[in-house]
Symmetry: C2
Subunit: 486 residues, 2 copies
């Protein structure tokens, strides 16, 4: 099979090719939609598992809300409809008849949740109300790319209501932090978790916080958002509660979500010329055990040893100097013992699929009572005695996870330049390849110019290292991250 | 709060009321759709968890396929379009424009899977292909009832392709058996897992196997299906593979699914006049610990003991005479320590919600070093020493699970009558209240008459206890189950 497109000079082509070859997705016969294949689905399921546990642990409950939303609901909040109207898919016929009122396929479910909040929330005792759903949503996008921007995508959307603005702000921050933990600690991607400028807020929000990753081509990728919604939603849907003094008040609302885009982010940030590189905590297959068959050697004996090794990972084993490890070793392990494929073809396949760790056992290794551990990052092969393999492999998975985050951080930092004035980086910004940190006076006017370069302020940072606005002569109020974006 | 409608004389009203009061669902402002609330969602998630593990263990992989299907796909298989056309919801506009070809919201995804199968399946080496997806689907039904029949519902749909008819038949049977295990061993519902008569097959199937439960009102509920599809799907979508001799063949296809209807089945089969009764293996809350506060007694001490007890369930403990139990005790436990609600109101609430086991601890129990275990079935209160509570409670959950299945089986059997001739049961069938087992000659003509009574042959049994057809004078070929159905 021919090589993947060059990751440095043809990054977009490399991305398209690697997600198809590694069998994450296929093209669907529906405009802008994707078929997520088993390997891609398994990656998403692992992300869901981690995040769902976080969502529940922080006091939220899952619900299932309808796919369809009456068009009139979307129209209730002025900014919301303005933001979403151009992207709606509309059901006009059902059961063989024209519908009296069309339904839209949810582009997001704020309006439906708020409609139900108005039914459920009567008193301060009903607050906070903290709900979440895992769902498919649809936005009729013009230019689509699997995982990164698709007409239908999969996500979770949290919707909460609180008695005070402070509580709602705490919620927005807490979920932003949970997302940061997910992305940094599990996906091994360094991230800016910061506030959006007013111009980039969610349609109908007072404040929008974002997770911004920097991809290898210098473009920013918005990987999740957490919003403090404006009171206008509570007014539009007439959500009111009696406070402890018996006075009617409108609650403060939040919403937050991450999508299947996270899968695309992992592909881009960690991938290399050989294919995917998946972080062990999310990889559907963490370890592939590969018997290396040789003519004249006992293939069955080799298979048996590999099977026994796999079982140690599956059912658990006694490990470590000091004590017990009961239960499964929590490693997802497969054996590739196809005798008709060459070891070279197998290496190629599992490297393409980004499996973090390979264990090779040949006849001579067996004689020597050892196996060879090969990591996907090229940290170096290791000969390990068979009775210490499980312990060593688990430890290497930890090392790989940490090393991936360290490398991604180093790479990300190399893609960001500290700049002072627009003239300095305008022409380079146009060409692409980097993101920039600079100062901003926080006036809309100074932001406008960036649009001509198809760039935006991705987020406002908490630092103030730059003294002057990048565009005008006013003093800078805060540093900002400027980039083109996916 | 007033009592639930009488479960014996007003079963339909009881059902509607109990699912709302126990907060499983709420009405959605979308025709025929439901809002599944946290408690209902948690029940469904527990079912999903068990079934997803079974699906994966039997060699299937999950995928995510598009919500929308081109209308032309549905029209490719003649019987399929005939079966589904009246129920389709159609997207005619998207992104502000009329679509050239309308899309339908999937009523089921055979056509989309088969379209992809044609791309993926080239050789016998690609077979079997065994895929599954968890998804929402939509069928524009006229009469809807939460969980039992809704416009949008949630399900899993398995789609597989095999080299031979025998393999496909084995798949159909295997998944039927997995469903039977799920329903009987987890949902504690006795079930007929048998074949449908030709007239009741899935639109486009050669054989349809069904799970038929008998509800307390004598009506049958179809709780899942497993289909051997006709070859016409493979022809319609041009799915072909080269067999090991290099000859092109059409693969044999299957599909199988269960839905959120399972939640409704559990409500109906196990519920009583006090509310839900949930089987421990599926119950979101298996045990509620309830401190019984008394004036003058130390409430804080009571709360502390309850908390310590809950932690034993949560983090695991040493139990049993013989050994260790590491890790969580696998019980889902909550403490209800609201001091403002009376114990009576709490009992009422948790009984309504169907929590299988309650642990009460009052000040005197504390002195005596014991607690009171009360099961939802009324098997009898038990005083248990505090240091044996975890062991005893886990054992009681097992007992409750087994007892629920035994009771449900006894009840189900009492709702089925063995009958010989139609005259015998025709007038009773019209009134409702029972299902019937009788003989059938397997001629369509004899089946027709049942439709006038709004009844159908729910499935063909493997027994042959009845000598003559219930309708004509011909000998019976097989026993059948006759009932009205949801």
């Amino acid at each position: 099979m021919k090589n993947l497109p060059d990751i440095n000079t043809q990054f977009a082509e490399w991305y398209q090719e690697v997600i198809h070859r590694a069998e994450l997705v296929d093209n669907a016969p529906v405009r802008g939609c994707m078929i997520v294949r088993p390997y891609g689905t398994a990656i998403w399921e692992n992300i869901v598992k981690v995040l769902d546990a976080k969502i529940k642990k922080t006091g939220h409950q899952n619900v299932l809300f309808p796919l369809l939303i009456p068009l009139s609901f979307i129209q209730k909040e002025a900014k919301h409809v303005e933001g979403f109207a151009p992207e709606l898919a509309v059901v006009t016929q059902a059961g063989g008849k024209e519908l009296e009122e069309p339904y839209v396929i949810r582009p997001t479910s704020e309006t439906m949740f708020h409609y139900m909040f108005a039914h459920w929330i009567k008193s301060w005792r009903d607050l906070p109300m903290k709900l979440n759903q895992w769902a498919n949503v649809m936005r009729w996008e013009m230019r689509t790319r699997p995982f990164l921007r698709t007409t239908e995508f999969y996500w979770q959307e949290g919707h909460t209501a609180h008695a005070t603005k402070e509580e709602a702000e705490q919620e927005v921050e807490m979920m932003l932090n949970e997302y940061i933990d997910l992305v940094e600690q599990y996906l091994a991607i360094p991230i800016f978790g910061e506030e959006k400028p007013a111009s980039e807020r969610f349609a109908g929000a007072d404040r929008t916080f974002t997770l911004e990753g920097i991809m290898p081509d210098g473009k920013a990728l918005q990987m999740g958002t957490s919003h403090l919604l404006s009171q206008s939603f509570a007014h539009a849907f007439n959500i009111q509660f009696q406070n402890s003094q018996g006075v009617l008040e409108h609650p403060w609302l939040t919403s937050w979500g991450v999508t299947t885009r996270l899968v695309g982010a992992m592909v881009m940030v960690h991938g290399d010329q050989k294919g995917l590189v998946l972080p062990p905590k999310i990889a559907p297959i963490q370890i592939v055990i590969m018997p290396i068959f040789r003519k004249g050697a006992d293939a069955e004996q080799l298979k048996k040893v590999c099977q026994e090794l796999k079982e140690k990972f599956d059912v658990g084993t006694l490990i470590g100097q000091s004590g017990f490890m009961f239960g499964p070793a929590n490693a997802r392990v497969v054996i590739d013992q196809d005798e008709h494929e060459t070891p070279g073809a197998k290496f190629y396949k599992w490297e393409l699929k980004g499996v973090p760790l390979r264990i090779e056992i040949g006849p001579r290794d067996l004689e020597a009572g050892q196996a060879v551990l090969v990591d996907r990052l090229g940290l170096g092969k290791k000969m390990v005695p068979l009775d210490r393999i499980v312990e060593e492999a688990l430890s290497m998975l930890d090392t790989i996870q940490a090393e991936m985050y360290a490398r991604a951080t180093k790479k990300r930092d190399s893609l960001i330049k500290q700049v002072e004035k627009f003239e300095e980086f305008a022409s380079e910004l146009e060409k692409g390849g980097y993101a920039y940190i600079t100062g901003w006076c926080q006036q809309d006017g100074c932001e406008q110019k960036l649009k001509e370069y198809k760039a935006t302020i991705r987020c406002v940072l908490e630092t103030a290292n730059h003294k002057h606005c990048f565009m005008c002569d006013r003093p800078s109020v805060a540093d900002i991250l400027v980039a083109k974006a996916y």
